[in-house]
Structures are given as structure tokens and as C-alpha cells.
């Protein structure tokens, strides 16, 4: 039986007014962000050169975001901070945690972005990708109601994460053919490691272990020797498909064929399973906890083309987009607001001077 889609709690029924509308009326950009997104804005003043220009770029990028991402910024993010480079680990573009999104406003200091060879829109593309990716984390992990863990695991299963076939042959058999059966199997194994992994709760729920433990329980390599010696509870030891293919290519084919046969598999089964679903990006293959946010980015940011991973995109549409789309359809299309819209909460922010921090 098909499951009913749970409506997204983030969908907003208010319209959005364009940044241009505020600018035409001579209102500060930060007022637009406070009123339209109910955001507190903070621009660090420790190195003011270029801060205002950078802030404008951020607001212009926010103005052009897809409606769902705007709804997340409005409904889930409380504050956007533009901080200087020394407040971030090296080369960091932006972060999200507990309702606060921080954007590094000194990208010109990031060595990888100094090359003159980048195309002229790279700054915009990266800023948009950062905002969408971090909003994806908020959607998945927000303590006030992110998506269910079983849906997060479905995104992982759809993105080609697999164990080494000699560690666990089950995903290479019939269980691995469908995302639904594979994700049910992964969730069951996860619950065997730690029963507090409740599939019906969100990763942000205080009753679940943190996202970092998801990486540990699902990805970390724990050898059988260490597991027995330290009484470690082990791990599913999943690997991204690209990483796993590289690793399998290093193995001696004759020995691999014999060891697979001892587990009832042939090399073609392994090959078919690896090709069935692929990682959506290098980023998504670095850590399990990054995969859902990366799928969200790949769906929404045209900068990324990930046709090689259609199952992940299809599962992402079902899990990350459909609840919002269903809610949006239920209320009807939203048109652009032709004038600033000032809800009570935003007026309080503006009265407290939050919208004037840039001193315009």
C-alpha cells in the first residue's frame, strides 16, 4: 500500500516580495531579508572592507532561490550571519547549525577561488549551491521536524552506498534490487547496532543519536579484531560506489571470484549492484550525513548535473520535494507580492534595528 505523503511543515502561505521592490522604495536590503524571511541578519564588522558588496551578493542570490528553499530560509533558519574568513575552518564557504546559517564573506581569500580560470558566474553558482546545500541540512536535520530517519536511509540506499561484498553479500542479492527493500535492510541493521535509531524520528530529534554517529555507525570501518577486542558495536561499513569500485579494481580478480562464490555471488552480481545506483557527487560520497543535503542541492542547483545518479534524484524528489509540493498544491500557486509585506514578527525585528545593521 502506498504511504500518504506527510505535508511539509515549512511551506509558507505568504507571498514573497522581490528585493528589487524594496530597493525601488529605498528600503535597506537587510530589511527585505528580515521582513520576507523573518531572519535576523548579522554582518561581522571586524574587517568592513567589501562587507556591504558581499552582503548584496548574498541577498541577490537568496532572491533568486527556488520557492522551497526560500520557504526553508523563512520557516527554519532564524539567523543569517556573514562572518569573516578567520571565523571558519580553511576554505569553508558556509555552515548551518541550530537555525543559524553562516556564510563566509571573504571568498576572495580562499586559495582555490583565486584562479583566474574560473568562469565568471562561479561565485554566484557556489553561493547558491552553499545556500541550497545548507538548507538541505536544515530540511533533513531540523530539530523542529526534519524528514524521518527511514527516509534519510532511503536516500542513502538510493545513492549507491554499499558494503564491500565480502563483508556483507546481502545487498548484492534480491534485497538490493529495490531502494525500498535495501533501505529497510540498512535500517534494520542500524537498529541492531543501536536500538535508539528510530526510523520514524528525524535526525534532529533529541531522542536520536547525532548525525555524526550516523556517519560512525553506517560508514566507519571497524575490523572484526578490533570489534571483539574493544567490544565495539561495529558498523555497516558502507562505502560510496565510486570509492568501492576503485577498491574492488585493486583486488586480484581470481581470488575475488573465489571468495564471492563462497558467498553465493558472482562478479557480475557485484558489478550490476554497483551500476544500479551511483553517488550523486564527490561531496555526497565523503560522508553519509552529507548525502541527503547533496541530493537536495543537485535537485535545486542547476550548476550541478548529476544524470548518472537518477535513482538518488527520484528518491530525493519523493522524500525532500513531494511533501512540500503537495502542501503547495493544496493551497494554490503563490504570486509575487507587489509591495513589502510586514508581518508582526518582522516588524519587531525592524523596530529593534536588525534590518539596519548595514548602516544604510
Amino acid at each position: 500500500m502506498e504511504e500518504l505523503v506527510q505535508l511539509s511543515p515549512y511551506r509558507s502561505d505568504r507571498q514573497y516580495a522581490r528585493l528589487e521592490t524594496y530597493r525601488r522604495l529605498g528600503l535597506p536590503d537587510a530589511t527585505w531579508a528580515a521582513e520576507q524571511f523573518s531572519l535576523r541578519i548579522h554582518v561581522s564588522q571586524d574587517s568592513p572592507n567589501g562587507a556591504e558588496k558581499r552582503a548584496s551578493e548574498v541577498w541577490e542570490t537568496m532572491d533568486r532561490l527556488p520557492l522551497q528553499v526560500k520557504d526553508i530560509l523563512r520557516g527554519v533558519i532564524d539567523e543569517v550571519r556573514l562572518d569573516s574568513e578567520d571565523n571558519f575552518p580553511t576554505d569553508t564557504l558556509g555552515t548551518w547549525r541550530d537555525g543559524t546559517m553562516r556564510i563566509n564573506r571573504d571568498w576572495s581569500l580562499i586559495p582555490a577561488l583565486r584562479s583566474g580560470g574560473w568562469h565568471r558566474d562561479l561565485g554566484y553558482d557556489l553561493l547558491r549551491a552553499t545556500l541550497v546545500h545548507e538548507s538541505g541540512h536544515a530540511l533533513v536535520e531540523d530539530p523542529r521536524g526534519g524528514i524521518r530517519l527511514r527516509d534519510t536511509v532511503a536516500l542513502i540506499a538510493a545513492s549507491g552506498w554499499l558494503p564491500h561484498p565480502l563483508d556483507d553479500p546481502v545487498p548484492y542479492g534480491p534485497v538490493g534490487r529495490q531502494v525500498s527493500t535495501l533501505s529497510a535492510y540498512y535500517l534494520k541493521r542500524l537498529q541492531q547496532l543501536d536500538p535508539t535509531w528510530d526510523g520514524d524520528l528525524s535526525l534532529g530529534s533529541p531522542s536520536l543519536p547525532p548525525a555524526s554517529q550516523l556517519d560512525r555507525d553506517v560508514m566507519r570501518e571497524v575490523s572484526n579484531f578490533n570489534r571483539l577486542r574493544t567490544k565495539d558495536r561495529g558498523s555497516l561499513r558502507l562505502q560510496g560506489s565510486d570509492q568501492l569500485i576503485r577498491r574492488l579494481r585493486r583486488d586480484e580478480p581470481g581470488r575475488m571470484t573465489r571468495e564471492l562464490a563462497a558467498r553465493g555471488l558472482v562478479l557480475e552480481d557485484v558489478d550490476a549492484a554497483l551500476r544500479r545506483r551511483r553517488g550523486i557527487s564527490l561531496y555526497a560520497e565523503v560522508a553519509i550525513s552529507e548525502t541527503p543535503a547533496e541530493i537536495f542541492r543537485c535537485i535545486h542547483a542547476p550548476f550541478t548535473r548529476a544524470e548518472h545518479s537518477r535513482p538518488a534524484l527520484i528518491e530525493g524528489e519523493r522524500v525532500l520535494l513531494e511533501p512540500w509540493r503537495t502542501a503547495d498544491r493544496a493551497v494554490g500557486a503563490r504570486r509575487l507580492a507587489l509591495a513589502p509585506e510586514r508581518p508582526w514578527e518582522a516588524l519587531q525585528l525592524v523596530r529593534r534595528g536588525v534590518g539596519r545593521e548595514l548602516g544604510r
Binding site: F88, R97, A112, L113, G117, L274, Y283
Partner: protein, 95 residues
């Protein structure tokens, strides 16, 4: 065993096989020449950042140098996109 990829014109025309590392190209000479132009410099990619003091996670820009995991496939994906080619990998059994 090395990573190997095939780039082929859509519709099954000219093809080139690329392996690494060290890099080598086989197949249609003109296609190899055009693909080689994408195999020079570093490739930019996005990856996770982690603040070890606060545990705060985020997005950072990575520069993948030749030989790094993901560098070759990053170059070839760009070549496939720009030259309108199909990028495939040979099966594990076909090593």
C-alpha cells in the same frame, strides 16, 4: 587495477578509452586530443568542512590535483558535458 573510463559520441560514433594513473588515452586520435585538453589542471569540487573545536559542519571548496580520488572522473565529466559525449566505465569482470 587502474580506473578506466570510455568516452563515446552519443549515437555510438568515435570513442576513446582513458585510464589512470599514470594517464593514458587510446582510441580515436582527434577525440583523444580534444579530451586531453580537459586533463591538465586542478578540478574544483565541493566537500564537507568540520570545525574540530565546535563540531560545526559546513561546505568547503576543494581543489583536486591530478591523481587525487575524484580528479579523473571530475575532468572526464566536464569533458563529457562540454563535448557532448557519453561517459561509461567498463565492468569489473572486463579488467
Amino acid at each position: 587495477m587502474e580506473q578506466r573510463f570510455r568516452l563515446q559520441e552519443k549515437g555510438g560514433g568515435r570513442a576513446a578509452d582513458v585510464g589512470g594513473f599514470p594517464l593514458h588515452l587510446d582510441g580515436d586520435p582527434e577525440l583523444c586530443r580534444r579530451i586531453r585538453e580537459f586533463l591538465g589542471g586542478p578540478v574544483a569540487a565541493l566537500g564537507p568542512s568540520l570545525d574540530p573545536d565546535t563540531g560545526e559542519r559546513g561546505t568547503r571548496v576543494l581543489t583536486l590535483a591530478p591523481g587525487d580520488p575524484g580528479w579523473l572522473v571530475g575532468c572526464l565529466r566536464r569533458a563529457a558535458q562540454e563535448l557532448d559525449l557519453r561517459l561509461t566505465e567498463p565492468p569489473l569482470s572486463g579488467r
